[in-house]
Every structure is written in C-alpha cells, then in structure tokens.
Amino acid sequence: MTAKQERVVAHSVVPIDFTYNYRVGTYLEKYIQGLGQKKILGMKCSGCGKVVVPPRKICGMCNLTMEEWVELADVGTVENYTVGHVRVDKGLLEKSDPPVMLALIKLDGADALLAGEVRGLKPEELKNGLRVKAVWKDPAEDSLADLDHFEPAGKGG
C-alpha cells in the first residue's frame, strides 16, 4: 500500500487559439473608409430598389450584384431593441451593470436595419420610434468602431 492518494483526472481542458485573416472585400472596405469621414454608406439594389446597410455585393432575393452606393443619414429611428442585463464574453455570461442597450435602427434613407448600441438614456426610455443619431469616434481610427454608438437625437432629430 502506498500512502499516495489516487488522483482523479476527469477532464482535460484544451484551449484552441485559431487566428484567421479574412479579406474584408471592397464593399466593406469602402464602408469602413466612409465611417472614418462620418459617412454611413449603403447599397441600393437595382432589382428590388431596397437600400441595405452595411453594404454588400449581392442581393439574395434578386440574385443581382448591387452597384449603386447611397449615402445615408446618420440619424434614424429605433425599430427594435433589447436591454441586456448580461454580456456574453467568450461564451460565458457576465452581469452587465449598467445594462447594455442594443437597437435595430432604420437610418433615414435605408430599408435594412442597422444594429447599434444606444447610450445617453435610461433603459426604460428606450422605445420603438425613438429618434437617434450616430456618435462618432474622434479622431477616427478607420475601423468599424468609428461609428461608436447612438444617442437620442433630441429636438429636430
């Protein structure tokens, strides 16, 4: 008999660290460059006439390539929203205090809704129909993060 206790080895924790180098594509590249100049660009489909944002090349419904760039307002209307009391960090839930406010926003001139974080109001004030405007990162980083968040547009929005 050995005094040594038998060790239980039930699990093997194996992290995976993959790094991918995705090509952004010319459409999203132009969109990101636009954000750096405080412009939000969308694409208009010549088939259905719908304006989508963020821009992409192919309209799934029409099976056409979209080629007409449209500059959208940086002001829009909240069409759907959720108040998050948690965050998902690497798949794990963490409490979010204060809660995070996420909205689907119809920018003036667009048909598709853009997801954005809304700040500058209480969670219970976030409602459909609320007019919001983009708040830009200054100085610009030439990244998606240049469109930092949205806040209530206030009077005249």
């Binding site: 995976i16 991918y20 929203y81 998050g84 998902v88 690497k90 798949g91 997801a115 993060a145």
Partner: protein, 385 residues
C-alpha cells in the same frame, strides 16, 4: 414520396448538463442499445449518417471519433452539419436512391459539459462585421426576435411565460429531459432573471449533453424490423437572409416555405386539421408561436391567445412539443433529430404520460442559425402510402 422510407426505431440519451462520460462511450451505449433492442447488429445497417459539428467538438472532422462507437467503422458513412433533421433528410434520400435498405442517423453534442454553446454561436456571426462589433450574440438576437413578435402581435411577457411553463410541465413527462417541473406556472418563469429583455433565463434552452439515434428503412425492410413503422411523407428545408436587419423577425419565411413544400409532398392541404402533433425546435420559447404559425398550425399572430387558451397543451387542439421541446433539453446537432424521434414515439403510442390521443400524423421541425435562419420540416405518419 415515390419510394417509401420509414422510421423504425429511436434511441436517446438521458440528456444532462453533464453526461458524465466521454462522447465515445455515450454513443456506443446509445447505438448498441438500439441494436440490441431490435436484435440487429451493425452488419444490418446499409449507410450511416452522422450529424455533429467541428466547432462543437473542438476538432475538425468531428465524426472521426464517432463512427467507430456507432458501428460505422469501414461502412458507408458520411456526416452532415447544421442539425440532425437535415441528416435524417439526407439519410432518407440515400434509401430513396435504392442503394440502401437501412440508414442509421446519429447526432450528438456535449454543450452542457464540453463546449460553450454561446461561444460556438458567436462563430456563426459574420467575421468581418458582426463579430468585430460584439453587439450580436445568440441571446441578444433572440431577444430582438421575441420583441419583434410581441410588438407586432401583442403577445405579453406573461403569455410567453405560459409557453415556457407548459414546456417545463411537458418535460416532466419525458424520461429523456434534463430540465422540467411538473407543476410549473408562469410565475416560476417570471421569477427567473432577465438576460436580454424580454427574455428571461427560463425562456432559453438549457446547456445540454445528449445524443439521439434514429433508424430509417425502406418499406420492405421496415416491415421486417417493426410492426409499427412511421412513414416519412414529405420533407424540405429553406434558408432566410443572414442579415437580421433585412428579415421580418416576427415571422419565419423560410419555415413557411419549407413547410409548404413538405406538405405538398405529403398531400397535406389543411395542416391545422390534418396534423395531430408538432415537435418544433424552439431554443427560445417565443419561437414556438413564430414557427408553428409558419407551419400553418395556428393563425398568424395568435401566439398569445394560443397560450392563454392552452391550445398547444398535450390535450389541446394542436399539441406542440409534448416532449417539452428545447426547454426540456437542447443538445446542439441532435435537437432536430430528437424532434423526429419524439414524433416517432407519439405515432407509435410510446410517448407514455406525454401521449397525444389518436395521433397519426406529425410534423417535425429543425433549425440552425441566428433567429432560426435555416429551417427544415418533415411530415411523418403512421399510415402507409
């Protein structure tokens, strides 16, 4: 369908937050049990179709350690991702090709103990845009979908709580379920914490380890293997836009189109009258009305009143998820195959306390993607022909 294919057997694990054994043993015991019950061996299986997922398994070619425990070693074998309902469709087609008389479909994942389901779902996000922004995840998108339906059709949070409570009660009648409560009330659901409003913890699926196996056979072989085959009458799948901002989240166009095609194959003209029981994949309970309405089982936007009136209860006019559905257990990949397995149990009178009286025709639904982007529908019946 021109060439008949039947479900002749099903097996499931007792789904768990931690199944307590390696995947290989789980699969071996599951499939060996099914073989022993039928008195067959792996030699009786013509083709094997696995549904598992590389991201869920944490290794490429996720089936590489799955084919041996299920008996597929050196046999005709292939793998499908997305969800087990697609694997079953593929397996049925392999039988319809005339090359095989039997097909074993096996689907599994260990989302309770091995991987993080929300992280795997994050890897479905567009990598150059949504994944960079970090706003969308499985929960926040589901919450937006719930809000979209509730705003459009006036379903209240309490009515949504009723759906969740029904599912927890049904799950208490399902020996395979992981999460259940025999006397669950809407108040129990409302007492769970908000994650992303309006979704509370008990509106969302539990992280689950589990597996399911379903054996399909040609008409002649099916009658040799069982006295009560369940016939596949129609099947189809369809995919909606990835972009949430372009979808009408309050409905499910792709479910509707898949159902229309499956019903046409099955000769179903009035689904609400002709279907006796439905098993739909709704990992978030608000998806139950969205999907069952797209499947033509209830009028558009009626989710709130259906819940109030108990129409989708086991003894209701159109029972939905007598198994407890995804609220009872939701192993990724296996989820849609479990829906078929549960329809099989219903149509063969094996559903025990969850049995729907006189059920002869059922619809099973599977999904994948954010807010049920990708949907598959299968119509099953105990009546041949």
């Amino acid at each position: 369908m021109e060439k008949q294919v039947a479900v002749v057997a099903q097996a499931q694990t007792r789904h768990a937050a931690d199944i307590g054994m390696p995947k290989e043993r789980m699969l071996f015991e599951l499939v060996k049990g099914l073989f022993d019950d039928l008195g067959i061996t792996r030699d009786d299986i013509g083709t094997f179709v696995i549904c598992s997922n590389d991201f869920q398994a944490g290794r490429t070619i996720s089936n590489v350690f799955e084919d041996t425990p299920i008996g597929a070693y050196m046999k005709d074998e292939t793998k499908v991702e997305a969800d087990g309902l697609w694997a079953a469709m593929y397996a049925a087609m392999r039988i319809m090709s005339g090359n095989y008389d039997t097909a074993l479909v096996v689907a599994n994942s260990l989302g309770g103990s091995e991987f993080r389901p929300y992280l795997v779902m994050d890897y479905q996000l567009n990598p150059t845009y949504d994944r960079q922004l970090g706003l969308l995840n499985e929960l926040s998108t589901a919450a937006l979908q719930a809000r979209s339906y509730m705003d459009r059709y006036g379903m209240t949070e309490t009515q949504m709580d009723r759906i969740a409570a029904k599912l927890l009660r049904n799950a208490a009648r399902n020996p395979y379920a992981l999460q259940s409560k025999a006397d669950a009330t809407p108040e129990d659901i409302a007492a769970s914490e908000y994650l992303y409003e309006p979704l509370r913890k008990l509106h969302c699926y539990p992280f689950t380890d589990g597996a399911c196996a379903v054996l399909l056979a040609s008409a002649d072989r099916a009658k040799e293997l069982t006295d009560s085959p369940v016939w596949i009458k129609g099947m189809s799948s369809s995919i909606d836009s990835y972009y949430l901002g372009e979808r009408e989240l309050f409905g499910s166009r792709s479910s509707r189109l898949a159902a229309e095609r499956a019903y046409k194959m099955a000769g179903i003209k009035q689904p609400a009258d002709q279907i006796d029981v439905a098993e739909v994949s709704a990992p978030f309970v608000h998806q139950e009305p969205i999907i069952t309405e797209a499947l033509g089982l209830f009028p558009e936007g009626s989710g709130g009143s259906v819940a109030e009136r108990g129409l989708s209860e086991i003894d209701g006019a159109m029972p939905v998820c007598p198994s407890g559905g995804a609220t009872g257990a939701h192993p990724f990949s296996a989820a849609g195959l479990i829906r078929i397995a549960e329809c099989y149990r219903q149509l063969t009178g094996q559903a025990g306390e969850a049995q729907v009286a006189d059920a002869s025709t059922a619809v099973a639904h599977g999904q994948d993607g954010f807010c049920a982007q990708h949907n598959a529908v299968m119509v099953l019946s105990s009546e041949e022909g």
